[in-house]
């Protein structure tokens, strides 16, 4: 019984000690934090999202992105990497209006996009295929008709080759 009462008496003391220790630890922990006081400001602006896909439809995972500000600077304004969905987001400097050039590269594949920043309208974001190809800067509204168009163009070229073959095969006889 006496052991029990002793235990009860030591209970509050242990709690007090624990409390003091916790305070000391908190104070110590707070010290370095205070030395690195941080502030965050928030601001809003328009960002540009790039989505790069291969011509098979697969996203360009880990493609390297080079962002060039207008003005012909050969050094990239920003560099980054696309995520596993092929996306990369950056916020252009609104004080540099004009054509921002973005290039996505991966192992000999590349896609170039240009985004108009400033002025009346800002393009929300553009999609370019990175397969082996760069497409003209302002054609990809309708993906469906695009595919059909490409198939037709391809068929026309193939027919040209076949026609050439038939022409020369005919001459031979």
């Amino acid at each position: 019984m006496s052991r029990g009462s002793k235990g009860e008496r030591s209970g509050p003391a242990a709690l007090l000690l624990a409390f003091l220790l916790a305070c000391a630890a908190a104070a110590l922990a707070a010290q370095p934090a205070a030395a690195h006081a941080m502030e965050a400001e928030q601001g809003w602006g328009e960002a540009v999202e790039i989505t790069a896909t291969y011509d098979t439809g697969d996203p360009v995972d880990g493609g390297q992105v080079l962002v060039y500000a207008p003005g012909g600077d050969s050094e990239p304004w920003a560099t980054g990497t696309t995520d596993d969905r092929g996306r990369y987001v950056f916020m252009p400097d609104a004080s540099k209006p004009g054509e921002w050039e973005i290039q996505v590269r991966q192992a000999g594949h590349a896609a170039n996009v240009s985004v108009e920043v400033g002025g009346s309208r800002e393009e929300p974001g553009e999609e370019r295929e990175a397969g082996d190809e760069i497409r003209p800067e302002d054609t990809d509204e309708a993906r469906g008709s695009d595919t059909l168009q490409r198939v037709l163009m391809g068929a026309a070229v193939v027919w040209g080759f076949i026609g050439t073959a038939l022409f020369f095969a005919g001459r031979r006889r």
Partner: protein, 221 residues
């Protein structure tokens, strides 16, 4: 695997055009020296069509996918016609599909057409035993595989040595290694495909393969 515009330095682009110009000129000379240079055109034209379309056929090689090149096949079947065929095919791919680019046409033609001629050189070893189906098949496989293999090696050397300073070189190198490895199965696929095509031609139209066997004095006109 065609290099697009805007990733190679201008000096490399110029060198590519110079090499392609020289090889095209030489190929034309060799074609012009043949008995009837027009005779090969139908065959060359049809295979150019196949080459043009082949780059749209993707073969999944996890985690990526590669497309057929068929330059080995062109070299094996067309001989000296292969280089102009590759050049014309690449031109239409660049113009129609933006596959590759016009500034890189020279580099691409050299990198794809050169190995095609090499595949032709390999396949010409057939002269040793023209009647042997086994030798024809094996050389067809080697030619088809070498076409892809040498092209990929050339591209690898080109890409590794021209990584621009503003890129993360380590990450880019990793991506290039992955791309090269993904082409190993393609080598096998194109080798087997080329072997199948030449064995088929050997059976149905053997005169389409290689040199004319009739001596000139027999050809009475």
């Amino acid at each position: 695997m065609h290099l697009p515009d805007g990733i190679l330095p201008v000096s490399v682009l110029a060198a590519g055009y110079a090499a392609t110009g020289a090889v095209t000129w030489y190929s034309m000379r060799r074609i012009g020296r043949e008995e009837d240079p027009r005779e090969g055109i139908p065959k060359a034209s049809l295979l150019t069509a196949a080459f043009f379309v082949a780059s749209l056929i993707h073969i999944p090689v996890p985690p990526t996918s590669v497309h057929l090149i068929l330059n080995g096949l062109l070299g094996v079947v067309l001989g000296w016609y292969a280089f102009p065929a590759v050049l014309v095919g690449l031109f239409f791919q660049a113009v129609m599909f933006q596959h590759g680019g016009l500034t890189t046409l020279g580099v691409n033609a050299a990198v794809i057409g050169g190995p095609a001629l090499l595949a032709y050189g390999i396949f010409r070893l057939r002269r040793l035993r023209p009647a042997s189906r086994t030798l024809t098949g094996v050389l067809g496989f080697l030619g088809g595989a070498a076409g892809v293999g040498i092209t990929v090696l050339l591209l690898f050397a080109l890409l590794i040595t021209t990584i621009p300073a503003e890129l993360d070189a380590a990450a880019e190198r990793t991506a290039i290694y992955a791309l090269v490895l993904a082409h190993v199965p393609l080598m096998l696929i194109e080798g087997v495909f080329t072997a199948m095509v030449v064995l088929f031609l050997l059976r149905v139209r053997p005169e389409l393969l290689g040199e004319k066997r009739r001596p000139p004095e027999v050809a009475v006109r």
